[in-house]
């Protein structure tokens, strides 16, 4: 196929795509017009039904909690996959990077980066914890909180060395925290079944005040477990990749 033929083929395809796309656009509802009833219904009843003022979390962890379980396990399985693929292979061994190029001086991390990272670790931890534990009152949740929590561990790596990072987040403990998070979510659902309710039914007392941190029953609890799982999964993935980059060498 010559270049000219290829170009014509592309142009024909692009024109067809553009035609269908524009045709599809004309059928869309107007900007800002929401046709379906579900969103309006949820907006009206969610706070009264769950005592959670973070309606997004109420949807995620209650109305469609079953979907969220599956989503959480996608991340869980992905983390397992990464640590399986990136395990130490037979042809590799662990070695620090120092003797890779003898005589070449590796520039040390600058003091500015170290100080900034150290300063940010505390606020990042608090922020992550806040996000993970306030799903019921704000548009946050365990997912975002977990990633922010994991970021504070990455800051620790920036401020120090990989070995410090590894010592603070040992693989066994990270694995265990992740497993507790993933299992906790499922266990809450099964507890509801044990009480004679449908899977993931909100069986805890909802509290008397909508918008209080202690309100919303299982929504807050599920968000907490999701935070644990997501944080651990990200720390695990990043530490596996760092190990690949910094420690593992081909046996030569």
């Amino acid at each position: 196929m010559t270049a000219a033929q290829r170009r014509w083929l592309f142009l024909a395809g692009a024109a067809g795509f553009a035609a269908f796309y524009l045709w599809g656009l004309t059928g869309l509802p107007g900007f800002g017009h929401y046709p379906g009833p579900y969103g309006d219904i949820i907006n009206r009843i969610a706070v009264a039904q769950t005592n959670a003022t973070g309606v997004v979390s109420a949807v995620n962890f209650e109305y469609r909690g079953f979907d969220t379980v599956a989503e959480e396990y996608i991340l869980f399985v992905a983390a397992i996959g990464v640590s399986t693929v990136l395990r130490q292979l037979r042809g590799e061994r662990e070695r620090a990077a120092r003797d890779e190029a003898v005589g070449r001086r590796v520039p040390p991390t600058s003091d500015a980066v170290r100080v900034l990272s150290l300063m940010l670790i505390g606020p990042t931890l608090v922020m992550g914890w806040f996000l993970a534990s306030h799903a019921q009152t704000s548009p946050s949740g365990g997912f975002q909180g977990g990633v922010v929590l994991a970021t504070s561990f990455i800051l620790l790596y920036l401020a120090g060395e990989f070995l410090v990072f590894e010592r603070v987040s040992p693989l066994d403990i990270t694995d265990a925290v992740g497993a507790v998070g993933a299992g906790g979510f499922a266990a809450i659902g099964i507890t509801a079944v044990g009480l004679g309710l449908a899977y993931l039914t909100n069986f805890l007392p909802l509290g008397s005040t909508p918008g209080a941190v202690s309100s919303s029953g299982t929504i807050a609890l599920i968000s907490f477990f999701v935070g644990l799982e997501v944080g651990a999964a990200f720390v695990l993935i990043v530490s596996e990749l760092l190990e690949q980059t910094l420690l593992l060498r081909h046996r030569s």
Binding site: P139, G141, Q144, T151, I154, I237, V238, Q244
Partner: protein, 95 residues
């Protein structure tokens, strides 16, 4: 406290919001094009991170603060970190 105070957000003139949304849409389009056009992988990752930040702002302007938070975490932070680490590994093997 028995009364839940739900503070109404201060009214923003509609035209101002439209301008903000359109500006951000244009910026996101430009950012996506930039990410696709940049050839050097490391620079591409940095541009991708900035693009994630732009997308987060866009979601905020369209009143989706929860998606904003997710996009900030994943698009602007987590994804670039993973890509940079992968690039570092590939580069080391090539040396």
């Amino acid at each position: 406290m028995n009364v839940v105070a739900v503070a109404a957000p201060p009214p923003v003139p509609l035209a101002l919001m439209d301008v903000l949304q359109i500006t951000l849409l244009v910026l996101v389009g430009a950012g996506a094009t930039a990410v696709a056009l940049i050839r050097s992988p490391v620079r591409q990752v940095i541009a991708l991170s900035a693009y994630g930040l732009l997308l987060a702002l866009l979601f905020l302007a369209f009143q989706a603060p929860d998606v904003t938070l997710s996009e900030l975490c994943i698009g602007a932070v987590a994804l670039p970190i993973l890509l940079l680490l992968a690039l570092a590994k590939v580069r080391r093997r090539e040396e």
